[in-house]
């Protein structure tokens, strides 16, 4: 039985830390659905969100193996509790007539996205939502898409808990 888990990590912001995580996933043949990483308010620490999938036993191993990496300071499996998960989508869509444009605007509006630019029959939009919502959006406008970029999922626990206090 395959489960999807979102893992949040704080890790040392050193040159090799990203490749240690990526290397672990490829060496042990674990899945990465998405991975995003950026420095935190403390520039010596990066925060990473990994969305992965596997059997409960594999997820258990992924968590343990990540914890074993010397650069990993703290790891929380966000799927264990209440959380917020968001992903950003930047997308460029072609519309050859008003009907097509309307369809695109409707889809963007449905997810409370923002239209950033329209030039020569091409509109660029930004949309934030859960991965599933973004998947749904992509499906709706699929035939119009010229190009898209997705950030990968970001996540935080809800409530007073934080990775910093763990």
């Amino acid at each position: 039985m395959t489960e999807r888990h979102t893992l949040a990590l704080l890790l040392e912001n050193t040159a090799g830390s990203l490749s240690r995580v990526a290397g672990l996933f490829s060496a042990r043949a674990y899945n990465i659905e998405s991975l995003s990483v950026a420095p935190t308010e403390d520039p010596t620490i990066s925060r990473m969100t990994v969305v992965t999938s596997g059997s409960p036993q594999i997820i258990d191993q992924i968590v343990k193996q990540l914890n074993k990496l010397i650069d990993v300071i703290v790891l929380v499996d966000l799927s264990d509790g209440l959380r917020v998960e968001r992903e950003l989508l930047l997308v460029k869509m072609r519309h050859d007539n008003d009907l097509e444009k309307d369809k695109i605007l409707k889809a963007v509006g449905k997810l409370e996205g923002a239209l950033l630019d329209t030039t020569e029959g091409v509109s660029t939009a930004e949309i934030t939502g859960s991965s599933a919502q973004l998947d749904e959006f992509v499906r709706l406008v699929d035939s119009s898409i010229l190009e898209l970029a997705r950030s990968g999922t970001l996540g935080l626990q809800l409530g007073p808990k934080s990775l910093n206090s763990k």
Binding site: L11, E12, A15, G16, S19, R20, G23, A27, Q57, D60, Q61, K64, Q65, N67, K68, I70, D71, V72, I73
Partner: protein, 573 residues
């Protein structure tokens, strides 16, 4: 202002302050500043090997024998890549080691400079951790961190990549006494609640089994393990890596388990109702087919590495902690419980085990006109009073050494269990002999493995290391031949060692003594003569029965109860 030192001076001082005795290495362009400083001092003794793989295996052997981290220095590029096999070997067996690799100057990194490789990248999957030192100011602290990480928790090799300009730059020096890392906190003590659960389960067992591994050796838990087994009176089996932590000659020891373990150990594993794994990781060579592994057992697992628990086999009572401290707690819990094991039940269990043991699965033909390799190991045990440090290479001879040299003490059996690295034995013996100059050190090898790092005979001469090389020469890559016989209808594809050198002359040309023994009646005498030469290295070339196989055997993919025995070579199930 503090005295300013060059990076190379800091390096040597830091090793000295860390208490490093030996530095196994080989010079080259990127580490010349360091070698110049090594020349100027005599605190850290440099051991010049003949190939960087030899340096890593020697440092590894040193660490396995004495418990202190082995230390290596090699140059950039090919120096580093040659060291990789030895680093991976140490990684698989959790051996503490710190490997310093030279690197091109920071300004050249990434430019495909002469003798440049991405050492941090290449070694990443086979180290516990690695560092690239980019500023001389970070050097001393990084060295301290490297030793700390390598030798604590589940030990392992740590690589420190040193760009040449960092070894030339200057700064003030002070070696930190301790170091803390916010991202690294190795566990020590087990959870008391889990320990009590384990205690209850153990005391209620009817068919218990103690399965101990390399963690009991590395974790220095021999005394605690012995006490634990004696308190309970339960049967003990050990993995290839665990041999010696519990005395091999003790009646509670039922032999090694796994692919070439004893019939009684594997059958007892298969039928047990409570299994306690102590610093062992349920390797595929131990478990055989996981579907058939210990079908009736509740499993307790003590390990310092949480990732080893429930990795291959689901564990009912996981205990994360150092085996020594957990066993101490467990022993205390058993003693203070006032309960004793279920006597009648375990008597029945022992009777069953003795019945399995009565098959005498390690018997072999003692009337052969050819030298039986097993007999050489038994004679070796006799001649060395069972008290030698035995290193080995990889293959049939390794299994025979494990089966027939009864190890009564930990750290006496030095072999590459996880990675299975041919060429390990001789350089590892160098490290062991340096750690214990007055002890008897023998390298059990075969003519194939021996040739993989044979150049280190030269190192042995340079440092007067009186290692005894016991080569079981069957003119085949024996284990490959055995598998080809069993599973490839005896098509011996490339497993035949054609054009062998004259090992006697070869030993002599390296300045040592060579002996060739081809009669069974000469085995003991030859060993006595060789081990009598206390200050000389002797290469003993035993011409053994080419057709001998390692038995018993569980074929890959079979269950532990499905063993082949030598006596009838048929499946017992």
């Amino acid at each position: 202002m503090d005295k300013q030192l060059r990076g190379a001076e800091i390096f040597v001082k830091a090793l000295s302050d860390e208490g490093v005795e030996f530095l196994f290495g080989y010079p080259g362009g990127a580490v010349l500043h360091i070698y110049d400083e090594i020349f100027k001092q005599d605190k850290v003794k440099h051991i010049l090997v003949r190939h960087e793989q030899g340096a890593t295996h020697a440092a590894d052997g040193y660490a396995r024998a004495c418990g202190r981290p082995g230390v290596v220095l090699v140059t950039s590029g090919p120096g580093a890549t040659n060291a990789v096999t030895g680093i991976a070997t140490a990684y698989m067996d959790s051996i503490p080691m710190v490997v310093f690799t030279g690197q091109v100057s920071t300004a050249l990194i990434g430019n495909d400079a002469f003798q440049e490789v991405d050492c941090v990248g290449i070694t990443r999957p086979c180290v516990k951790h690695n560092f690239l030192v980019q500023r001389v100011e970070d050097l001393a602290e990084t060295i301290k961190k490297a030793f700390y990480v390598a030798s604590t928790g589940r030990p392992g090799p740590v690589v420190v990549d040193l760009p040449k300009d960092v070894t030339a730059a200057v700064t003030s020096y002070s070696y930190p006494k301790t170091v803390t890392m916010r991202s690294y906190k190795p566990p020590v003590d087990g959870d008391p609640e889990q320990i009590h659960r384990a205690c209850d389960l153990l005391l209620s067992a009817k068919k218990p089994m103690i399965y101990s591994g390399g963690g009991a050796v590395i974790g220095n838990a021999s005394e605690e393990l012995t006490k634990f087994a004696r308190l309970l009176g339960y049967p003990v089996t050990q993995t290839l890596m665990g041999l010696g932590a519990y005395p091999g000659s003790d009646p509670q020891f039922v032999g090694m388990l796994g692919m070439h373990g004893t019939y009684e150990a594997n059958m007892a594993m298969h039928h047990c109702d409570v299994l306690i794994s102590i610093g062992a990781r349920f390797d595929d060579r131990v478990t055989g087919d996981l579907e058939k592994f210990c079908p009736e057992a509740k499993i307790i697992h003590i390990d310092i590495d949480p990732a080893s628990i429930s990795k291959n086999v689901y564990v009912d009572v996981p205990i994360v902690g150092g085996v020594r401290s957990v066993l101490r707690e467990l022993n205390q819990a058993i003693e203070s419980s006032g309960r004793a094991p279920v006597d009648r039940a375990t008597n029945l269990w022992w009777a069953q085990i003795k019945e399995w043991a009565s098959l005498k699965c390690l018997d072999y033909d003692k009337t052969s006109k050819l030298i039986k390799p097993q007999s050489v190991i038994e004679a070796l045990h006799k001649v060395t009073d069972g008290d030698a440090y035995i290193t080995s290479d990889v293959g049939q001879h390794q299994m025979w050494a494990a089966q027939y040299y009864t190890f009564d003490k930990p750290r006496r059996w030095i072999n590459s269990g996880g990675l299975g690295t041919m060429g390990f034995g001789l350089p590892a013996a160098i490290g062991v002999q340096l750690a214990f100059p007055d002890s008897v050190v023998a390298c059990v090898t075969g003519e194939a493995s021996f040739q993989m790092c044979i150049q280190e005979l030269s190192t042995c001469l340079q440092y007067n290391l009186p290692i005894k090389v016991v080569s079981l020469n069957n003119r085949y890559m024996g284990m490959v031949r055995q598998w080809q016989e069993f599973f490839y209808e005896s098509r011996y594809s490339n497993s035949y060692m054609d054009a062998l050198p004259d090992f006697v002359k070869l030993a002599e040309s390296y300045g040592h003594i060579g002996m060739r023994i081809d009669q069974p009646g000469d085995v003991v005498g030859a060993l006595e003569e060789a081990f009598g030469l206390r200050d000389r290295l002797v290469v003993m070339d035993f011409i053994t029965d080419q057709t001998e196989n390692v038995y018993p055997m569980i074929a890959a993919g079979k269950g532990q109860h499905e063993m082949h025995l030598a006596t009838d070579d048929r499946e017992l199930a």
